[in-house]
Symmetry: C2
Subunit: 264 residues, 2 copies
């Protein structure tokens, strides 16, 4: 649809309702309200709480939800099945924002999809949505185009991935975030055991991450494991004061060595 | 020492010779040359190669090494014992830059210590030395003061740690850098297995690291392991295509669960 008026084309703004007022819902409302290509009609949340730092109209009454092009459901994973029943009467495109949930949770609806911002959000912390990757999926090509336009209007990083890929992305993020964070915990504990300020390692940690912009992690692996520096490895194990630390050190050292022998 | 002239005090600049022209030696020369509190007299390296992006005088002849206050030896760990013999005739303070080597490698000298920049360097990549932590150690208090002044003249982040602590810092860095980098390799491989662009995860990885500035990693652990979300854990294991990935996933999931049960 486009309207012609003298020689300027006007595209109608895409009308959006956001459901849920948690971390994702709040940040989406703030970003969409400021977006000139989007008309943010409403936020629905059970308590009818207003959205902090956002003037969007709020309703707590499902019967009052406005007619929109896209409904973005930011509920917890467990609440999405129920949401599909609540929203059955809506005509627009209904999408969820969950990384862990299949598109099929909404398959009883006519128009449905996924609009997944790949970032962790906290209401209190500002987010630059232009740098938040958005992964979309939809039940038809035309719905996919709607979501792609919406995603591109708020982020420079848009991706199309299916539900299987999104599940795999979730496991992948467990390694990239949860497991690596646990390594930082171990690192800090070793520092504590020896009265060392963990801050001393932070510039080095940041440099390791910066390298990911220019190199694959596989190609920048360093340390005694990949060097097979058994003298250093033995010295390190003696320094570790807790049995579980030694076990982790052993397991990961062996896994690295096997990996680079191409056995993994 | 200070010289009085009318009512202005003049401190003599600290005279430094850097030995070695590798990554650390090159960056130290560049930083010290630009430092108004330091007089960089010379670089010694076996081949007499000039230092890129630095105009320091270079010698390949040990007999020609200039008389300095501090000699910074940036050789590989294995070459430090030999260096202590080569440098026995020098009167100044001789320090190495190795994170993995005890101060005692230089104990046959009169004045010795350690000047360890806690960062990974590449000649080709610019470094802002003000943000590189420098960990120092010396055989006497007055030598410690010399190193502390030198360190403070090039970096905002100076630390005093002994050789035992420096060894522990090295193990700690294995967890923080080598092991976490291996987690990124696994993460990227899972993405490859499912045709997902690894770039989609990089903003999330950076956010995890940014959180370390305001929170201890122990307090920001998330994911199915700490939630004991066994349904998600089982689904994840099915998605992992390689046996070694499943083993790592199991081991780390169990280690996280034990840790937060305070058994670690």
């Amino acid at each position: 649809m486009q309207f012609h008026k003298s020689n300027v084309y006007f595209y109608p703004m895409i009308k959006v309702v956001v459901l849920g007022a948690g971390n994702v819902g709040t940040h989406l409302c703030r970003s969409l309200e400021a977006n000139p290509e989007v008309l943010l009609l409403q936020n629905y949340n059970r308590k009818g709480e207003s959205i902090s730092d956002c003037n969007v109209e709020v309703t707590y009454n499902l019967a009052n939800i406005a007619a929109a092009d896209v409904y973005i459901v930011t509920y917890n994973d467990n609440a999405l099945v129920e949401a599909s029943e609540q929203l059955a009467r809506l005509r627009g495109l209904v999408v969820h924002t969950s990384g862990a949930t299949s598109i099929n949770v909404f398959s009883t609806l006519k128009n449905y999809g996924v609009f997944y911002p790949v970032q962790s959000f906290k209401k209190e912390l500002a987010v630059n949505f232009l740098e938040v990757p958005i992964a979309i999926e939809a039940n038809t090509d035309s719905n996919k185009n709607i979501l792609l336009n919406l995603a591109k209007s708020i982020s420079n990083l848009t991706y199309q991935i299916n539900s299987k890929q999104r599940s795999a992305l979730h496991v992948s993020a467990v390694f990239a975030n949860n497991f690596s964070n646990f390594m930082y915990t171990q690192s800090q504990n070793i520092c504590k055991d020896y009265g060392i300020d963990f801050d001393i390692l932070k510039p080095l940690i940041k440099e390791t991450i910066n390298k990911l912009d220019v190199s694959d992690p596989e190609n920048i692996q360093t340390g005694p494991a990949i060097r097979k520096d058994s003298k250093t490895i033995e010295r390190h194990k003696i320094l570790l004061k807790k049995e579980a630390q030694k076990e982790l050190y052993n397991t990961l050292t062996q896994a690295i060595q096997k990996y680079y022998e191409k056995e993994l």
